[in-house]
């Protein structure tokens, strides 16, 4: 930007715009920073007035998140001195660790269902998007609108018959059931995003490949797929984030085996109500991967969000 241009903002307006945006960004970060701070507080510090920014950090929240605890008699506590650092944390409340909590399982469920449904939506979505982009499909616009319109239904409205259907098919509270459901929800977005990316790849590449003796399939996976790789990757991230964050279906259709983390985290109960440090610890573990992902892959992600929404 060395040459003079009338459309280039002046230095002063850049500085002004920059400081306002940074101010907004910092304000918007406060709740997230507070979640992470609270995860390292003791229950007493978490509910102190005025709210504490400086405090003595402790891993109590994390220990409580991953364990279940029971109260024990003084004789028992005296006879069994704590062996590990986490036992020691629990002992200050005259408790012992009874076993692991459900958090690990719920987190693993989130991973399995998230990745499973993302893989399936991308696999099916890429094929459909390619077909919509390259072939004359009768009523293509109507079909595309139909695919998109399935997203307009409130999840609860869909959940009623799905609940009944899954009960009949034995799919309720199973990983497979949730994977299929999230795939069905994600695929509309995937097809729309991917069609946009594939539309951008010049048809000439494939035509050249076809003339060279490739079949349509070969042209598709040897020419189009590599070209669409970034688009596919960013679409995958969107699908993954949706499945990762989803709550309504998860809370209605799962209760045990296949329950994901979002319905579980708000139910972490401590002594006398919600155990806020443990809730915050769970939230941190659950949210941090998405935040790191977003910052690390910002170039593709930001393009992807607008790409899906803005097509000409």
């Amino acid at each position: 930007m060395s040459s003079f241009s009338v459309t280039e903002p002046s230095k002063r307006s850049k500085w002004f715009a920059g400081s306002l945006v940074i101010l907004y960004a910092l304000i918007t970060m406060i709740p997230l920073a507070w979640i992470m701070l609270t995860g390292f507080k003791s229950p007493a510090d978490a509910i102190s007035y005025p709210p504490k920014v400086f405090f003595e950090p402790t891993l109590e929240g994390y220990v409580n998140l991953f364990t279940t605890r029971t109260r024990q008699t003084d004789e028992f506590l005296a006879a069994n001195p704590p062996e590990t650092w986490y036992e020691e944390i629990v002992r200050q409340y005259d408790m012992v660790i009874a076993g692991p909590s459900k958090f690990g399982e719920r987190f693993l469920n989130s991973v399995i269902i998230g990745f499973g449904s993302t893989f399936l939506s991308i696999f099916l979505g890429t094929l459909a998007a390619y077909a919509f982009s390259r072939f004359k499909i009768p009523l293509a616009d109507d079909l595309l609108f139909f695919i998109l319109s399935t997203r307009m239904m409130p999840p609860i409205a869909v959940a009623i018959p799905i609940f009944l259907m899954y009960r009949q098919l034995g799919l309720s509270d199973t990983h497979l059931g949730m994977i299929l459901l999230y795939t069905a929800v994600n695929i509309s977005l995937a097809v729309w995003l991917l069609k946009g990316f594939i539309d951008e790849i010049p048809r000439e590449y494939e035509e050249a490949a076809l003339i060279d003796g490739y079949t349509r399939f070969q042209a598709f996976y040897k020419v189009v797929l590599p070209q669409a790789a970034t688009g596919i990757a960013s679409t995958a991230i969107f699908c993954l984030i949706f499945a990762w964050n989803e709550y309504a279906f998860a809370v209605l259709l799962t209760s045990g085996t296949a329950q994901t983390a979002p319905p579980f985290i708000p139910t972490i109960i401590g002594v006398g109500g919600l155990d806020w440090p443990a809730v915050a610890a769970g939230a941190t573990i659950f949210l941090l991967p998405v935040m790191i992902f977003t910052v690390a892959l910002r170039k593709h992600l930001l393009r992807g969000i607008t790409f899906g929404a803005v097509r000409k």
Binding site: S5, P31, I47, L124, L127, F163, L287, V290, I305
Partner: protein
Amino acid sequence: MGHLATGKLCLMTETPITRAAAATPPTVARKIKGLSDRAIAWTFVGPTIFLLLAINIFPLIWTINLSFTNFRANRLNREVEYVGFRNYERILTDSDIWLNMQATAHFLFWTIVLQVLIGFTLAYLINKKFKGNDLWTTIIVLPMMLSPAVVGNFWKFLYQPQIGLFNYIVAFFTGKDPSSFEMLGSVDLAPWSIVIVDTWMWTPFVMLICLAGLRSIPDYIYEAAEVDRASKLRQFFTITIPMILPFLMLAVLFRGIENFKMFDLVVQLTGGGPGSTTELTSINLKREAFEKWRTGYASAYAIILFVTVFGLASIYVKALNKVKER
């Protein structure tokens, strides 16, 4: 899935044909190799359509069917009777449901107004291309990437009257006592508490769409305006605003649909309370369907909601296309 398997099979056996095809003219070659384009098109689209039919359309038809019955999902042995339009009649004449609709309208209106205003302003500022703008943009985007249920649950903590950070900060700037107001507990403030969190979370989405819009305006239009000595203010109203309008309208459409369906964030924050001041239609629907187990009634309710969103969205898209054509 059967179609897909045949597709793969043909892929493996076609090498000799490919070799032969190399010698034939391309137009002929295309006809004899593998599946026809049409067959491929349907094999590719088929599984997606099938999945959507099975998990979206079939349930929708089932819901329509249930909406005419008095079925209750927790009493399977009871005989199911067809009751005609009675469920619909009861819903449309129920004054409580109109209260829920009002709560939803308040939520929709204010979230859209605030998000468009703040989102557009931010996009306009970011488009000044100051140093490091892409990193700050990403940081602003973070809230919308996170799980609404988990974040909503934590906002409940921030809104606590005595110990909550939100109340403390508001008290710090206004000089009020932080325990003198309850964001989630008071009938007047609760509807605003959900507007604030939704705006915090989703303004970045509107911002990103606006940013894409601003970046799509070619520089030469401004250069031409500059040559014509149009003032900056005039340029803003005659170039920037009209050119960004379709983008803004699209952002409003997306936010409108999403917030009409709003469930996770609000159910975690307020659970619909106090009373039913923040009981948006989705939350009310969940109560009817999964707490009171009035499945038939809830199905009719779901259909009414779906028709409303679909109808409003279709009208809106028509208007949007008119704006785009100009």
